[in-house]
């Protein structure tokens, strides 16, 4: 889908492959418990929804996304992690997002992608742009 009719702005559909749970998503069970769902139901709900990138900020290439199913909204951790691995997919309040580079962070981590969201040496340093439509695609068995 493109929104080019307006002002030459193109919106892309981007699929993000994600390994949910386990060491890649240590807070998956926290989100599940908060939502009163099983972890499988959280994965199904998170990957079924379509998200829109509202804006970039916090870290280079960090996309704040709207569209998180209301049930999955989970408050930020009271004690932020000092080191969140690059590619971690998190839930912070009513938003979901992906950490482009390793650093501190307070969102609940439910999975991880190998896509590089920011690479300053690429001609287009960012992967996601405001307005892009995002789907998360679960990879493999979440329990491993």
């Amino acid at each position: 889908m493109d929104g080019g009719a307006g002002a030459g702005v193109f919106v892309e559909n981007v699929e993000i492959p994600v390994r949910y749970g386990g060491a890649d998503g240590p807070d998956l069970s926290v989100v599940a418990e908060h939502a009163g769902m099983t972890t499988e139901e959280v994965i199904a709900a998170h990957s079924a929804a379509e998200y829109v990138v509202y804006f970039l900020g916090f870290q280079p290439g960090f996309a704040y996304m709207g569209g998180l199913p209301e049930r999955l909204a989970t408050p930020r951790r009271a004690d932020p992690r000092l080191k969140v691995p690059a590619g971690s997919v998190g839930i912070g309040g009513a938003q979901t997002g992906i950490y482009p580079s390793a650093g501190p962070g307070g969102w609940n981590l439910i999975g991880r992608t190998d896509l590089r969201l920011f690479d300053p040496t690429r001609e287009e340093p960012i992967l996601l742009r405001p307005g892009d439509l995002i789907k998360f695609v679960p990879l493999g068995d979440p329990s491993d």
């Binding site: 804006f55 870290q59 960012i126």
Partner: protein, 310 residues
Amino acid sequence: MLDIIRPGIQTTVQDLGRHGYRHLGVAQCGAMDGPALWLANRLVNNAANLAGLEMVAGPIEIRFERAAWFALTGADFAATLDGQAVHSGWRNHSAVGQVLKLHGAKAGMRAYLAVDGGIAVAEILGGRATDIQAKFGGFKGRALKAGDQLPLGPTSHLERRIGAWQAEWSPQVRVLPGPEFEQFSPDARATFFEHAWTISAQSNRMAYRLEGPVLTRNVSGELLSHGVLPGVVQVPSNGQPIVLLADSQTTGGYPRIAVVIEADLWKFAQAPAGRKIHFVETDLDGACAAREEWRHNRYRFELSAYGNHG
């Protein structure tokens, strides 16, 4: 080439900042004391935005692997070149193989070194500044280590030694009221300007945390995330102000009680933990006049050093 023998703590390659990429979430970075790096570069007739070194804590030792003109500005680090005193704010010459030692700040906090030709690291996203958080730019995206060898640009043909006046530090920092200023209680608004705020040890290139009386906000509820810039003064729910600086993240969500004017941002660069600062209210005209004054100082320097205004 510059040979880093002893790197000090958090010595980084910095220019005047990476501009035009905040919409991608990319921080500005660059010298915390911009006017000091500007002056160091112009003392050796570099373009003002070439990369130099920002130094926070000594001892630091650097060997010149080519003959070079260099200048130190900002905090006085009691520097010597092969044992001879080197004064801050002057153009100096080093022969091949001479060693520059910087012992540490006598007053202030950050010193800047510019070498003729500049530090010739690759430009990434329109700048040569080190982004320590995102780990790119500068020299390998990190603070310098012993054994690092920094490439230099082409040397210039300079002759005489010249010096320049450097702005004197004072604890008065001028601010404009921020977008949420009116949401703070009348008491908090008065206290913000009347109290001397202590710079906390929890301060770095991203932000300085200040300690003092708790500032209370009359309005409850969280704000939507919004864009922020170096100079924005946030007050999280603990009531203690945070001043965003060169490496500031691009977005935030805390109420903005004030914004430090550009002309006074360098004062934080030269204020170590424990130092006290005062906020002084100004308006847009005051901020513009301060910027004009800084421009005028630069013009005066160009006129006396090079007989034109660069």
